[in-house]
């Protein structure tokens, strides 16, 4: 364990202002917030693209089930993550209004919900869709909970680089749900999100570094400084652009996607350069917002181009 390692804060200090969350009970919307619906939507979308790009077909009911399992699995990971991180969530401005730090839901209820949803989603995926997709879903949940949340997040500035694998797996799950296997093409989809995650998340951590520092989370800007982080963001952005062209070289999408991906990628690199040169938070905020749009457009274009190729 390095000097960067951060011990868990005494969680009891942050549990329930009135020791009564169990009796208070959360609103339904608190339980929904526990599942991080915005992250869930990105997981569902990239998983859906994986399903569309995969060779073969899947009955719509089973396709819906696969999507549902991915969404529930993502929600399960989020719930367990919030249970484990409730001490630092209470310290950080961005997360202190979450249901657990606010005492609206009992920690045990959040953990219980997460475990039930995790087991349920993997079981349903295995029984209704196929075992490869179920295994990948189980790997995603386990990686996010044990490797990212419990092991890396508080110990190393490489937390989101390695931990990003969990967020990159949904297209592979979607692909496996249809084809029943793991191929180079599905690994490329994984690699695109894997390479996209560091510049995306470091953009956020650049203008939230005070928050992370206060909570003792060794994000890159906290440990290595803003300058080094910006350099790495540019490097990852430069590596990402050629990688986004790989689906075209593999023949799973057409030239229209390749052109659009190149233009969108140049936009990302231009913003990364701007972040590198700029002193304030504005460029980092723009980079963060653009990176979300970038990934969405990239995967939407893959889906549209594949659909167009199938129709043609």
């Amino acid at each position: 364990m390095s000097d960067l390692s951060v011990e868990r804060t005494d969680a009891r200090a942050f549990e329930l202002p009135g020791e009564l969350a169990g009796e208070l009970g959360g609103e339904v919307r608190d339980y929904i917030a526990l599942l991080k619906p915005r992250v869930m939507s990105l997981v569902v979308f990239t998983g859906l693209v994986g399903m569309v790009l995969a060779p073969g077909s899947l009955h719509p009911v089973l396709g819906f089930t696969a999507i549902l399992c991915m969404a529930i699995g993502a929600g399960a990971s989020a719930s367990i993550n919030m249970w484990y991180d409730r001490d630092i969530d209470a310290i950080m401005t961005r997360t202190r209004d979450r249901p657990l730090p606010r005492g609206r839901i009992e920690p045990g209820a959040a953990l219980g919900l997460g475990v039930v949803l995790a087991v349920g989603s993997v079981t349903l995926m295995g029984l209704a869709v196929n075992l490869v997709a179920a295994a990948l879903l189980a790997l995603t949940i386990a990686f996010y909970v044990f490797v990212y949340t419990m092991w890396l997040k508080r110990r190393t500035p490489q937390n989101i680089v390695i931990g990003g694998a969990a967020g990159a797996l949904p297209p592979m799950i979607g692909w496996a749900a249809v084809s029943g296997d793991v191929t180079i093409a599905s690994l490329v989809l994984f690699a695109i999100i894997f390479m996209w995650t560091p510049p995306h998340f470091w953009a956020l951590s650049l203008y939230r570094s005070d928050d992370y520092q206060r909570a003792g989370v060794p994000m890159m800007p906290v440990v290595a400084g803003a300058r080094e982080t910006k350099k790495l963001m540019l490097l990852y952005s430069l590596l990402l652009v050629p990688l986004t062209l790989a689906p075209y070289w593999l023949g799973i999408v057409g030239v229209a996607y390749a052109v659009a991906a190149l233009l969108l990628g140049l936009g990302l690199v231009a913003l990364a350069l701007r972040v590198w040169r700029a002193a304030g938070d504005r460029a980092a905020k723009q980079m963060f917002a653009y990176s979300i749009l970038y990934l969405f457009l990239l995967f939407a274009l893959m889906m549209l181009d594949k659909t167009r190729m199938v129709v043609a």
Partner: protein, 55 residues
């Protein structure tokens, strides 16, 4: 004179009123009912699809 004081409202052990607590619990129960009904319908549909072997 204590015997003439109005009885205190029954405490639920939380800052919420009894009505608010009941409202939240009712909300969670309805949500759980909706989830269970949806799951029953989904399992039924999956069974039909797998039994008929349509892909």
């Amino acid at each position: 004179m204590a015997a003439m004081d109005p009885p205190e409202p029954k405490r639920t052990g939380s800052p919420l009123t009894g009505d608010e607590f009941a409202r939240r619990r009712r909300g969670r129960n309805y949500a759980l009912l909706a989830v269970l009904v949806a799951l029953a319908v989904l399992f039924y549909a999956i069974t039909i699809v797998q039994r008929t072997g349509v892909q």
